[in-house]
Amino acid sequence: HYNQRDPMLKKRDDFEDVLEERRNSSDLRYALRCYTPVLYKGVPPCKSSMLKSMVLQSDQLHYVISQVSKETGRKTDEVQEEASAILDEMAHCQQLSTVRFFAFTLSKVFKSLFRSICVNEEGIQRLQQAIQEHPVVLLPSHRSYMDFLLMSYLLYTYDLTLPVIAAGMDFMGMKFVGEMLRMSGAFFIRRSFGGDKLYWAVFSEYVKTMLKNGFAPVEFFLEGTRSRTSKSLTPKLGLLNIAMDPFLKGEVFDVSVVPVSISYERILEETLYARELLGIPKPKESTSGLFKARKVLSEDYGSIHVYFGQPVSVRSLAEGRVNRRQFNLVPRHIPGKPGEDIHSFVNDSAYKLVRAQEENMVLKPWVLLASLLLQNQAAGPKEGLPLDELTAQAVWLRDLSRQYGAFLHWPDQMTPSEVVSSSLSLHRGLVRICEGKVQLAVEQGLAATPEEKLLNQAVIVLSCASYRNQALHVFLRPALLASAIHTASSTQKQEVFNSFSFLRNMFSNEFILCPGATVQDFEEASYLLVKTGAVQVSQQEVVVTEGGHRTLAFLIAMLDPFLQGYQVVCRFLCEEATETLTEKQFIPAVRKFIIKHLLAGGLRYAEVLSSDLQKNSLAAFLRLGAVQKIKGYVGFDHLECLVGPPSRAQNTTL
């Protein structure tokens, strides 16, 4: 059975504040200091012009160019020129001077925004070692625009080879900034290029050329985009596929993949994200918009923790999983669709890596407070939680989360009440203390209509939820089990497992749940609940203990908004979806439906308004075959109501 090491014993490195030195010495000297990074096998970084010509002269690209030319009847030269143009649009042109400019400016900005930027220096040392041995891929979590500037800043600070970063095309729209980013090492990829063979060839060859030759670490975001909810997003596989390809085809001995967890105590985009999720349109990225955002500079955003994880060897990931001989029978420059086994290997690896990011995310006490306040708020129209009770609950939750292996930064030198009040004061935009009672700041502002009022509330709730979500990965598995115990028709272990398996399956678009690891997750959850004395598990039964009800109630409440959300979407599809519901119409229609129910009081959770949840639930229903997509329309067949007992169709047994 489940015999993973006790998560409490998980060894993590200590942090060091990089801003401390910035506050005590000249930024200018820092920006101009001698920069001599260690290199992979002593290979110096490659000039961008040289890189471009390597890509354009590659066998891979030649092949695709002649293929495209044959298919379209265009001249090879013409296609070649198109490829060259794509490359110009894409390519980075890193310049040390720009990097130095950023080093200087960012020092100023960071110092005014953040109290500290803490980095695990042992992780930096491991990275330095990895860079010398094998080509490196950096995979930071993505919660803010700040992420990749921060990454480059840190690598510069620690004298490491600056990464080249895959960035979305939307940045390019910002005229001056786009070019600046390009000069700091970003390269730009179109958000979608579907079947454009040539684009794909140029893009993948560009990335592979950098990687194979080890010119610089390649950095991209596994999640594909910034997570607006602070939950990790389902990994996108495109770039990871490309990054693993040189190893699979034997072009390099190994590739080191380094997950990096960046945790913000306060996210710069906090309310922006909430608005976006509620469908209040976001301003397009523009340079002037960025300057308007200057007012954020005057606020306190607490600290940032950056944890460079253990480098993961792609070779060891593939050991015993991938038969590399399959690539020996076709010339390697001919592009081919990866087979099913490769796809599932890359997918599993991606999940593992996202889990690794999650595990090393630093959680602040506020995250626990936000969870408690949200639960309290949903419990009913009360006057908020007395401060001392909140403190007591927070201490309880602190201990629980630590037992579950959370990477919690709770300042032990302060008293719990000091910790709570300092956390609350940093997030004063989201909470209000009134007569010694703490509640979410949802009543503020004058709104014309009840609907507007609701949306204003929802902004606060979603902002808070995004902090709670930071801790979700810690509680997710036990919470699934708790809910399974709650919904299962008996205490029979098999029943509970079936119910667990159903919930897990349904939520696998919502949370990071590794494909095929149901049994493992169940055992992990059982282990944690048993360890903390909340349940007893025998061969046959899963029984909640006397003292376990509090834990279970908390865990169930953690998952409840999502469960309710899926139910309401389900109800919407049953009640209101007509045969002509298009994908585009889905979000506005379901939103309207939810607002109606929220206002009528039939629904407690404003966070159900999150378009993220709505999209995820639809994707889940599609995956489960409850809903069908017919050329852009969404229809449903025999949607099983989620309120009922879980489906018995699960084949997995313990």
């Binding site: 034997g250 001995f253 190994d254 001989r325 690539f327 020996n328 010339p331």
Partner: protein, 633 residues
């Protein structure tokens, strides 16, 4: 430039004659103390086995001239003399009697060896270590009546129970002996073999053919699960050239003839086969056929499959052979391809008709230095593309280049050492080659003098396009000479806790660099993971070029001090290296064969159907598994 014009042939004859003298000396020498003891032990020897093996390079009692637990001739080995300098003993080779001052440092630097820490071999085989023979009395009785010599002397049996895999030699050095043949039999001709195979079938005795004993695939190992009496059929006494046909340029030989004898005897008539595998001093014609051997000069003469015109093989079902000497036939699948590579599982090759060529008028060595291995490979690829490969072209990586330097004998004069220094200066300082990256290709040209010179220019011109600098004939010649000497070096290493092995593969051109890098790194990583305390040596060279790819040789060795089971670690690393080769598009073997060492990958190498085909041939030809060495399948 051509200092040794047309010297190749006469040089060779001189060496051959010298070898003959030495062997004759061995045979005449009064029996020394050791062998008296041994002789006393073989009390059961049949009087008929005493037939003298005069005039033959390989005597029946191989142990008289060869090491029983190491490579090659007993009189030849590397050792550290009293001054602590490396010395190569004996008189057989060019390097014999010389001192190699740099070898000690190279060993110490490369492996972390220390001359104080010795791991000597057990000097004598104790016969108690050898299991008494399980004899099939009826078989022995009938065999006696045929008059074919045989022996069940422990030494004779042990000698034929192994090839030269590391684990085999390591065990012998420790005095450990596993399952060995119960009897050794020396047929004198094809008909003798027919008799022996008939008797083996009749009495259900397991036969294992033995040629030169140079297998590196565990091919000669006796299957421990074999319960029948095992008879080693040693072909060494079937070593005559039966005829030479100058009109058609073919020769007909008995299959037991070893490479050096074959070349020497043909040379006497002005011919050669041109088939020169690195093991040619000891390996036999029959062995080449049975393993699909490849020779260093295959670019001119071809591999064994190109050279063979007709083969006679004795199987339990009878003799398989073709009915004519036509140069090519369209008569269904070529039955020779059931024989070549059958690794002794179907029968014994007894006679072979082979192509011969007039001896080359002119031979010239050469060498080229490249700034790095990548450039060197690119050059070899271009040479292959233009189909202008010399008789031999080999590219050594940087590690081997350094190793070659370590084997440089003491320079005789100030002037040579000065010249050497000058050359080094020119290459590293003036041309900017990094001594830790540069690598060397060695070349051998053969043919008509003018054509050779023309050819040479063509190759050097191509080399120049890839940054190659001509580095002289001496370096080239030394490179080839070392081929024969290197095998002796493993024994020296084993005296000082260093174990090693070489293995080969063939791979398409576009993967040569990748496979070389990845396999070397895999070896290093595996050694680290398996607890090897010292940095291993992982080195490679491209030894053959083809239109579509190359043959790559890997060398791998490490200092095993501190390991409790070095051979196990060694085998794990070797296994991992083979996995890496296969993952990188390399073949299971280019010419060493499969034996038992690489059997586990055979099915994947040839597919299920392929395996079924081979099995059905085995089932038809040898239903009772008389040829039960269990190689290949």
């Amino acid at each position: 430039m051509a200092s040794n014009s047309s010297g190749g042939g006469s040089d060779r004859q001189r060496i051959a004659q010298q070898r003959l003298r030495i062997i004759a000396g061995h045979l005449r020498r009064p029996v020394d103390v050791d062998s008296t003891i041994l002789a006393a032990e073989c009390k059961a020897q049949d009087s008929k086995t005493d037939v003298s093996s005069e005039g033959k390079t390989v005597p029946r009692r191989r142990q008289e001239i060869m090491k029983w637990n190491g490579w090659g001739y007993s009189d030849t080995k590397f050792l550290f003399n009293k001054k602590g300098q490396a010395e190569f003993t004996g008189k057989r080779y060019k390097l014999s009697g010389m001192i190699m001052p740099a070898l000690k440092d190279w060993l110490e630097d490369t492996f972390g060896t220390n001359l104080q820490h010795k791991s000597p071999a057990t000097p004598i085989l104790t016969s108690s270590a050898v299991q008494p023979p399980t004899l099939n009395e009826a078989f022995v009785e009938e065999l006696k009546s045929t008059g074919i010599p045989f022996s069940h002397d422990a030494e004779d049996r042990v000698f034929r129970a192994h090839g030269h895999c590391l684990h085999e030699i390591f065990a012998l050095r420790e005095g450990k002996v596993g399952r060995v043949p119960d009897l050794v039999v020396w047929p004198n001709c094809h008909n003798d073999v027919v008799r022996i195979v008939e008797l083996a079938c009749k009495h259900n005795v397991c036969l294992i053919p033995y040629g030169g004993g140079t297998s590196v695939s565990s091919g000669l190992e006796c299957p421990p699960e074999e319960t029948r009496s095992i008879v080693s059929l040693d072909t060494s006494q079937m070593s005559r050239i039966l005829w030479i046909d100058e009109k058609n340029l073919t020769a007909h030989m008995e299959a037991g003839i070893v490479g050096q004898d074959l070349e020497r005897l043909l040379n006497e008539s002005g011919y050669c086969t041109g088939h020169e595998p690195d093991s040619m001093e000891f390996s036999s014609l029959g062995g080449w056929v049975a393993t699909r051997a490849s020779g260093m000069k295959k670019n001119i003469y071809g591999n064994i499959e190109d050279l063979v015109i007709r083969v006679k093989m004795v199987t339990p079902q009878g003799v398989i052979e073709k009915s004519c000497l036509g140069p090519r036939m369209s008569t269904g699948p070529d039955i020779h391809h059931f024989i070549m590579g059958s690794e002794g599982t179907l029968g014994v090759v007894t006679e072979v008709t082979m192509k011969i060529r007039p001896m080359p008028e002119y031979q010239k060595y050469g060498s080229v230095v490249f700034p790095n291995f990548e450039q060197g490979v690119a050059c070899l690829r271009e040479v292959a593309k233009q189909r202008c490969a010399p008789a031999s072209i080999r590219l050594m990586d940087n590690e081997q280049f350094k190793f070659g330097h370590a084997l440089k004998p003491q320079v005789s004069s100030m002037f040579t050492s000065f010249l050497d220094g000058l050359k080094t200066f020119y290459i590293t300082k003036f041309k900017g080659f990094d001594p830790n990256c540069l690598c060397v290709a060695t070349l051998l040209f053969e043919g008509h003098r003018e054509k050779v010179l023309q050819h040479e220019k063509q190759v050097y011109d191509i080399a120049a396009q890839f940054g190659g600098l001509a580095a002289g004939e001496d370096n080239g010649q030394r490179g080839y000479m070392l081929t024969f000497v290197i095998a002796y070096l493993r024994d020296l290493g084993m005296d000082y806790y260093v174990i090693g092995e070489s293995f080969e593969t063939s791979v398409p051109w576009d993967r040569v660099l990748d496979i070389c890098r990845n396999v070397k790194l895999r070896i290093i990583q595996e050694c680290k993971d398996k607890g090897v305390q010292f940095q291993p040596l992982a080195s490679c060279r491209a030894t053959q070029t083809y239109d579509s790819g190359a043959c790559v040789y890997f060398y791998f060795a490490f200092n095993y001090r501190g390991l409790s089971d070095p051979v196990h670690v060694f085998e794990e690393v070797e296994h991992a290296a083979r996995e890496e080769i296969l993952a990188n598009g390399g073949s299971l073997s280019h010419h060493h064969g499969v034996g038992k060492l690489r059997k586990e990958w055979m099915r994947e190498a040839v597919s299920n159907v392929g395996m079924g085909m081979l099995k059905s041939v085995k089932d038809y030809v040898d239903p009772n598994n008389i040829f039960g060495n269990r190689n290949l399948l």
